[in-house]
């Protein structure tokens, strides 16, 4: 069995007699994205501070690669700490230093790198975070989103193997939230670090996470994969997820998974017999698109697709929800497959003629994307039966997905 990178065994921590962590047991594995979710004030940041060593437990033990931290020599612990980077909830940027100085600080103070090498590394991070034109500004002169990116750049500049992100998306708009989460997922792939996140951005954070940990009343109530979490029927987990998941997906405005499930149960769940609805699975290839036009613009495309799906199918009695990062499932009750195909054709036509060309203008105006790019929109159509559960429908529709709309800048597209 794989040894966890970080493990908590019965960690208890009290502040002025109040128990914040109560015999918490958790495991964080190497090269995974682990997300910790919990209500505000439930002790998530306290948990993080125990990992980095800013706080020590009153009871219990923390293990790093199987070795108890409290039994490590100072040198050994320093060897562990050098691998960890921490992005604070409030960014904790040095307000009397410029963006460049903030990011260069850990390199200047903890390494013997030459000035030119430090400059090269800092500039490379700044360019990756699209911050190259604000290097001489002070944090107070930047927007909240930019400050987050500066904090992220500072956390990554030392090439850490473990990065702790304490609510990295707080205070961001839905597009920027997705951008930051995508950035974390992307850099995790690129640099191969272990990411531990505290976040409330459901469902987006689930899409990038390998494991989910739920902190409930000071203890870890759940620590498994997202698939396990979806399957698990537990009143406490349901109550918890309901408390932080909204009715609608923030990014696309479509139904949240919870609302979709209940609409689905009302429409199809209780019946029996032949198909009486059609399921449509729309999608774009977010990562490929992001490679061409940048993640922020790619998320805008996804947002536009979601809005367009909602606008077109809701008046027809359809209801939709985002099922993964870049797939949207729509159920059309009382509509046959043939009729649905015609509807999708009309939908794709509208998408090509109006919505997608608007994206070009938007990305150019807002994000300065001048390169020519292509957008492929896919759709899979399948019948919905009374006995099907949502996952089965998605699986079936995914195998039938084909391109329905193409946008190429400067060219008129044609619906398939």
């Amino acid at each position: 069995m794989e040894t966890p990178l970080i493990e908590f065994r019965g960690v208890t921590r009290r502040f002025n007699g109040k128990i914040v962590l109560d015999r918490a047991d958790l495991k964080i594995y190497e090269n995974q994205i682990t997300t910790i979710i919990g209500k505000s004030g439930s002790g998530k940041s306290v948990l993080f501070k125990h990992i980095i060593g800013l706080l020590s437990p009153d009871e219990g033990v923390i293990l790093f690669k199987g070795k108890p931290v409290n039994e490590m020599s100072k040198k050994e612990w320093d060897g562990c700490r050098v691998q960890i980077s921490y992005m604070f909830q409030n960014n904790a940027l040095f307000d009397s230093m410029t963006v460049f100085e903030n990011i260069a600080l850990p390199l200047r103070q903890t390494t013997n790198l030459k000035k030119k090498e430090i400059e090269k590394r800092v500039m490379s991070r700044l360019e990756q975070m699209e911050l190259a034109d604000v290097i001489h500004r002070y944090p107070s002169e930047l927007s909240g989103g930019m400050q987050k990116r500066v904090a992220l750049a500072r956390a990554l500049v030392t090439d850490p193997s473990i990065v702790l992100f304490d609510e990295p998306t707080t205070g961001q708009d839905p597009v920027r939230k997705n951008l930051i989460l995508s950035m974390i997922a992307h850099y995790r792939k690129q640099f191969g670090f272990t990411a531990v996140l505290v976040s409330h951005d459901i469902p987006d954070v689930f899409f990038i996470s390998d494991r989910i940990l739920i902190l409930w009343e000071g203890s870890i109530a759940f620590q498994e994969t997202y698939e396990e979490l979806s399957r698990l029927k537990h009143p406490m987990i349901d109550e918890f997820l309901e408390s932080i998941e909204g009715l609608r997906d923030e990014l696309t405005g479509l139904l949240s998974k919870k609302m979709f499930r209940s609409r689905y149960a009302m429409t199809l769940g209780g019946g029996s017999g032949e198909a009486n609805s059609t399921a449509l699975l729309f999608g774009i290839r977010l990562d490929i698109l992001a490679g061409a036009i940048g993640m922020q613009a790619a998320i805008e495309v996804l947002k536009t697709l979601g809005e367009h799906v909602n606008k077109y199918f809701s008046p027809l009695g359809g209801f939709s929800s985002r099922r993964s990062r870049d797939n949207i499932l729509t159920i059309l009750p009382q509509v046959g497959v043939e009729e649905a195909e015609q509807l999708v054709y009309d939908f794709a036509l509208g998408l090509e003629q109006k919505a997608l060309p608007d994206i070009q203008e938007l990305t150019m105006r807002k994000m300065g994307v001048e390169a020519c790019f292509e957008i492929f929109v896919f759709a899979g159509i399948t019948e919905g039966r009374f006995s099907d559960d949502i996952e089965q429908i998605i699986e079936r529709a995914a195998t039938k997905q084909k391109v329905i709309a193409i946008y190429q800048c400067g060219k008129e597209g044609s619906s398939k």
Binding site: I52, R81, I84, F88, A92, F94, D95, P106, Q109, T158
Partner: protein
């Protein structure tokens, strides 16, 4: 009898309890401050400190020079004025130069310089470190493996050790010139006598004593001010920005009081 002793005990307890608690608190703080100073002092000699120290010498030393000169000038002038009229009564106005110089070099120079730097740079040290603490920037330093004591406190203590004696020398010089202005230029004491008496009566031991005092004050002021800022989050009487303001006030008051107490103690050793 038993009841009487119980009554006595219960009436004394409310008086002694806070007193004892306060005493333990003071001793705890003194111990913590001593360890804080020792660690920060040792870190002065770690690598990558020179640039930070130079920067702090600029903030604490160079930027305080104008105010120190101004205070020195007027202190010297008022001393010249007061002492001239006092010495005239005993027909010894010729001694004006030596009395002004000795008062400034041995006593007023180190003390007033320390108080002025406390007001100007000491309060800034506390406020700056306090804000770094409450906005988690000190925690951020720790997570980046930058020792906050080495990065924030040690350069300030080193810069104080360098700046205090230099500013004291500046104060002494300008103070003596201030005495010259009132004594010689305004009130007509002989110029040669003024400087001759200084030369005749001021000894190296007086100058050395003044510098020893300024060094002691530098250690006291920088340690107190940095300590108050560094542990501002542990205050039990307030939180957040309020705790920074209270820490700054405490740092200035405590530093001034400690400068005066230390002045007496050091003087009694030097005499």
């Amino acid at each position: 009898m038993e009841m009487e002793s119980k009554m006595k005990e219960s009436s004394f307890l409310p008086f002694f309890h806070p007193l004892g608690k306060g005493a333990i608190n003071v001793i705890n703080n003194l111990g913590a401050a001593a360890i804080f100073f020792a660690l920060a002092f040792l870190n002065i000699f770690r690598p990558k400190q020179i640039q930070e120290i130079i920067q702090q010498v600029f903030y604490i030393g160079a930027k305080s020079s104008n105010i120190v000169m101004l205070i020195g000038l007027f202190t010297g002038m008022v001393l010249g004025l007061q002492l001239y009229h006092t010495l005239t009564k005993v027909g010894s106005e010729g001694f004006l130069g030596s009395v002004v110089a000795l008062s400034i070099i041995r006593e007023l120079g180190p003390v007033l310089t320390a108080i002025m730097i406390t007001a100007r740079a000491g309060s800034a040290m506390t406020a700056e470190i306090g804000i770094l603490r409450i906005s988690e920037q000190i925690d951020a330093l720790y997570t980046m493996r930058v020792d906050p004591l080495r990065y924030l406190v040690s350069p300030r203590i080193a810069a104080s050790i360098i700046s205090f004696p230099l500013l004291t020398a500046l104060f002494d010089l300008i103070g003596i010139l201030g005495g010259y202005l009132t004594g010689v230029v305004l009130l007509g004491v002989n110029k040669g006598t003024y400087f001759y008496r200084i030369h005749a009566y001021v000894e190296m031991a007086d100058i050395r004593g003044g510098f020893i005092k300024s060094l002691v004050f530098a250690l006291l002021v920088s340690t107190i001010c940095c300590y108050q800022g560094y542990f501002t989050h542990l205050r039990t009487d307030s939180y957040g920005s309020k705790s920074v303001s209270l820490s700054t006030t405490s740092a200035v008051v405590l530093s001034c009081v400690m400068v005066l107490i230390a002045d007496y103690v050091v003087t009694s050793f030097l005499m």
